[in-house]
Amino acid sequence: MTAQSATRSKRGISWGQVLVNLALILLVLFWTIPTLGLLVSSFRTRFDIQTSGWWSIFPHREWTTVEEFQPGPEVNRDGVMTLAGAQGTFEQFRQGITTPDGHRVLWLGNKRIGKVQVQNRTWTMNTKFTTENYQEVLGGKTFEIKQPDGSTVTVKGSNFTGAFLNSIIVTIPATLIPILIAAFAAYGFAWMKFPGRKLLFILVVALLVVPLQIALVPILKDYTRLELNGTFLGIWLAHTGFGLPLATYLLFNYISTLPRDILESAFIDGASHFTIFMKLILPLSIPALASFAIFQFLWVWNDYLIALIFIGAKPDVQVLTQRIAEMVGSRGNDWHLLTAGAFISMLVPLIVFFSLQRFFVRGMLAGSVKG
């Protein structure tokens, strides 16, 4: 690697390097723009979102009015008129006439009492930002909204704070429990001898391909019988069940490749399986455990289907994704609320992702890449 970069720097700035970076920038732009659009929109006012694209925050050329007047009665509105240096019929003025010196003359309103605007094309930026969307989504307090006809309507904001806490309560155990169970099982499959070992392992791998949708109804029936519907325990167990095949499989891939002689010498020293697992295997597997933990965390935090089925409509247990999906359903065109809500739900996973970014690559390298 160092030799490579050394030869490259000797050549100076090569065209290849420029091309590589250009292509990369293009791809990265394409991947970031959607999220950027959401972020920008979430800070714009309800009115701005509906009337201009979020990209209008960037400098762009737009017609702005420099002069406005009402044509006098002497102007013949049915024939060809000359107004502010532009010549044309009423219909043409309605469309807007561009004069050779770069002005645009536009007729607004009706023929009799309408106004004429003279516009200039200038560079503008739409930089009116607000945090009101976030307050409305987070606070759960009431807002007074002025209607076009002058009356005021009080609207209650959706309470995201409770849903946010619920998401945390659901996600942390639903990440740690399957990892613990899977680590025990992975060790068992990798290093313990027992009857039915191969059969049980086949079962685990086979269940990797089962679409979880088929399990929803039977489990829901069991939960109703056990009164687990809408409880944290119920949803932890559900996430554990659906996450276990992959967790066991990935951790098995890692734990089974640990050097055999380390375990052998520990056995000679008289250690039991349990001791070896706790004192040797778990510390050695931290990269694999961490990388799976991050993935499981993201999956559970972002999950909608399992929460929808097993938590359902219980408002005091509902998680963030449910709240947003509810908003999509009930306020599908309230983009100012949708964007703010969606961004709040992304905040935690994005923080987790950017702060633990290094583990992703290292952990994946350890766990799943095999020639």
Partner: protein
């Protein structure tokens, strides 16, 4: 686990024998009874503590913050405690029994949960697929015949197999490979990889909001329509919801999936490329190989295994694709896929037999991958 408890538990049998020889039969009996009682007492206390915790959480009148802490400690600690206590019990037994039972303490909980949550439901679904829509009468393979003769299912199969797999899986892998190769040679590798990976952290619901906004018909909201109308001067189009575009409106949903999954493929490829020995590439370059030659003749063959693994993983993912479609179009306008069709038949139309048959078809279509994965397990040696 503290150090002293390890050493104390280590030779339980020796301790029992010692006390039997030195103290006489009565003390021995008392000691044994005491030990057994103690052994039963510990799991009992564990059970009571866990049960009380559960009851507390179920009633949950306490403030939200306290419930959060109790719930997390109870959930994670409870599972750890169960393992500790059951292992503590097993290590009290003789060597033979310990060797027999201990593996099942390690593997048992995982297997039990898997059977409950996945194996039994899968078996039950297969059974239901042989029954009629109410699960009453046995109809044999009629549901399967219906699956392959149904117009909606035909569209779903077409979308899944002819559109989602070739476009979705292929472009995910291609883009992932491209970013991995390009980033490897750029100074901004970490930043570029982080930004490409970022969509992985976003929920399907969030991604649905983002892309519904981009595809919005209103050119003041939808970026795509703003560009399209601006360039061609034509009227805006409802990209995903236009049945007139079918089947190509599927491509706009596939773009979302590519956007979400490329980061995953990129990470795998990036790791594989880093694993190529540096001197191998250097030697080729010194011998005058051009960059395309290095890529096609050395890199590609070297990471072939990773390409196949990644492709299979992404293909499985595309076959099971559900959320993107459900959130964005609900499977309407000719965008249905196998999983949304299953959801619609099973839950909305309440046709259990037909829906189950769809799920089983989906299950069977992913089996070849599983067989491939199992081959590696055959020649492992354990203690």
């Amino acid at each position: 686990m503290p150090e002293e408890s390890l050493t104390a538990e280590h030779h339980p049998i020796d301790i029992v024998n010692e006390s039997a020889t030195t103290r006489g039969p009565l003390e021995w009996l008392l000691a044994t009874v005491g030990r057994v009682a103690f052994s039963l007492f510990v799991p009992f206390v564990t059970f009571v503590v866990l049960y009380l915790g559960f009851k507390f959480l179920q009633k949950s009148a306490a403030p939200k913050g306290i419930i959060a802490i109790v719930a997390i400690v109870w959930g994670v600690g409870g599972v750890a405690l169960l393992y500790l206590v059951s292992n503590w019990l097993v290590e009290k037994l003789g060597d033979t029994w310990r060797a027999r039972i201990q593996p099942f303490i390690f593997v048992g909980p995982a297997v039990a949960i898997l059977i409950w949550y996945l194996a039994l439901p899968a078996a039950r679904t297969f059974y239901l697929s042989l029954l009629d829509r109410n699960g009453q009468a046995f109809v044999g393979l009629d549901n399967y015949a219906a699956v392959f003769n149904n117009r909606n299912m035909f569209t779903a199969f077409r979308n899944n197999i002819l559109l989602w797999i070739p476009f979705g899986a292929l472009f995910t892998v291609l883009f992932g490979l491209a970013v991995a190769v390009l980033a490897d040679r750029s100074r901004y590798e970490r930043l570029a990889k982080a930004l490409i990976f970022m969509p992985m952290a976003i929920s399907m619901v969030g991604a649905g909001v983002i892309w519904n906004m981009i595809y919005d018909v209103n050119p003041n909201i939808g970026l795509l329509n703003a560009v399209y109308s601006g360039l061609t001067g034509k009227a805006p189009v409802a990209w995903t919801a236009a049945a007139s575009l079918a089947p190509w409106n599927n491509l706009f949903l596939i773009v979302v999936m590519i956007w979400l999954q490329t980061g995953f493929a990129m990470t795998l490829f990036s790791a594989a490329i880093k694993g190529i020995p540096g001197d191998l590439l250097e030697a080729a370059r010194v011998d005058g190989a051009t960059e395309p030659q290095v890529f096609f003749k050395i890199m590609l063959p070297y990471i072939q295994g990773t390409i196949i693994t990644t492709l299979t993983t992404v293909i499985i993912f595309t076959l099971k694709i559900f959320d993107v479609v459900q959130v964005m179009t609900g499977g309407q306008f000719g965008t249905q896929v196998i999983a949304t069709q299953f959801y619609r038949e099973y839950f909305t139309s309440q046709n259990a037999g037909f829906g189950s048959a769809i799920a089983i078809v989906l299950l069977i279509s992913v089996i070849p991958v599983m067989v491939y994965n199992l081959r590696q397990f055959n020649d492992r040696e354990a203690f």
